[in-house]
């Protein structure tokens, strides 16, 4: 990413929970089952940005993320008859997206490329402090790469994309308890990567 690129704002800030599923979704899904293009377009528009953000975290390349998003929406359309009416659409759809993303990553022998955030230009921190912060980010990024894939995906979905534990459990088809355990283990690893810097600060 070059310095001039502008990050696309997510519909909610990182670390915040997304809004609850809209009430019109069961009716929308039923209309999609009957082939209504307007209903399908509404669902696409509703989840496109979040889907792209998750896809980008999984694959690390803009074009690959776009392809994955399109692939996931088409797969969801193909399987719409298997979607259980009354359940929330988002976990079901993101399960498709995440599974396909993980398969694509495996197939290409990729590990997620975590974009290192650019340091915000500010007049506050000194250059030394900024350099330390950059180094900290890089250490954390490397630490993320060492996590087992499932833990990495859970951290990304929970900490960065704002999915709740139960949602992640539905997406990955594991129990809530397993999600919490993985989060706990992943944080231990990531905080270990941060600890030299925390000792310096302390």
């Amino acid at each position: 990413m070059n310095a001039a690129s502008t990050a696309v704002p997510l519909p909610f800030a990182a670390g915040q929970a997304p809004a609850a599923a809209p009430d019109d979704e069961p009716a929308l899904v039923e209309r999609v089952r009957r082939g209504d293009p307007a209903a399908f377009d509404t669902l696409v528009n509703r989840y496109l940005r979040r889907a792209f953000a998750v896809a980008y975290r999984l694959l690390g390349q803009r074009e690959d993320a776009e392809d994955l998003v399109q692939d996931a929406f088409m797969a969801a359309l193909q399987r719409i008859d298997t979607f259980e009416a009354g359940r929330p659409f988002a976990p079901w759809f993101f399960r498709i997206l995440v599974n396909r993303g993980l398969n694509a990553r495996k197939a290409r022998s990729l590990r997620a490329v975590h974009a290192i955030p650019e340091t915000a230009a500010s007049s506050g921190p000194s250059p030394e402090r900024e350099a330390e912060r950059t180094e900290l980010r890089e250490r954390l990024t490397v630490a993320m790469e060492t996590l087992p894939e499932r833990q990495r995906v859970i951290v990304e979905l929970f900490e960065l994309e704002g999915f709740g534990g139960p949602e992640i459990a539905q997406i990955l088809e594991i129990s809530d308890g397993t999600v919490r355990w993985h989060l706990h283990e992943a944080r231990k690893t990531l905080r270990r990567a941060l600890s030299p810097y925390e000792r310096r600060e302390g």
């Binding site: 990413m1 690129s5 502008t6 990050a7 696309v8 997510l10 990182a14 670390g15 999609v32 089952r33 009957r34 082939g35 209504d36 293009p37 399908f40 377009d41 696409v44 528009n45 496109l48 940005r49 792209f52 953000a53 980008y56 975290r57 803009r62 993320a65 776009e66 998003v69 399109q70 929406f73 088409m74 359309l77 193909q78 008859d81 975590h114 974009a115 290192i116 955030p117 900290l136 980010r137 954390l140 990024t141 993320m144 951290v155 929970f158 900490e159 960065l160 709740g164 534990g165 308890g177 999600v179 919490r180 355990w181 989060l183 706990h184 944080r187 231990k188 990531l190 905080r191 941060l194």
Partner: protein, 126 residues
């Protein structure tokens, strides 16, 4: 940091801030257009497809097909045309030939249906 398996942990804003490599800019309308264009044909197929039946009805289809095949096979068996029978005249002719041309112990073996046909052909050809 205490692990509580009964509830989600609090999000760590520091982790989020350090890890947050936001997605790059993309052409949202173009991507949305690509997806909706790709979906046109599958959606059109759905509009023209027969209405979906409940799952319990769908499960009857293979059973109904199997029952239909079995019924057709049974019906074909019942409707099988009977083997052609000889007229009284033809039967008399066959019996005369069999009794006069063949030894007594062989003749009864040749008075079956296939034998009657074969003998008729032989008689017709002579």
């Amino acid at each position: 940091m205490t692990y509580d398996p009964s509830r989600d942990p609090e999000r760590d804003p520091r982790l989020a801030a350090l890890l947050d490599g936001s997605a790059p800019e993309t052409e949202w309308e173009a991507l949305r257009g690509r997806i909706t264009s790709a979906a046109e044909l599958p959606l059109a197929r759905r509009r023209h497809a027969r209405p979906a039946r409940p799952a319990w009805v769908r499960s009857l289809v293979p059973l109904a097909a199997a029952a239909g095949v079995a019924g057709a096979a049974f019906g074909l068996g019942l409707n099988r045309a009977p083997a052609p029978t000889l007229s009284a005249e033809e039967q008399a002719m066959v019996n005369e030939i069999a009794e006069s041309a063949l030894p007594g112990e062989v003749a009864p073996l040749l008075t079956g249906e296939a034998a009657q046909d074969a003998l008729l052909e032989a008689v017709a050809g002579s």
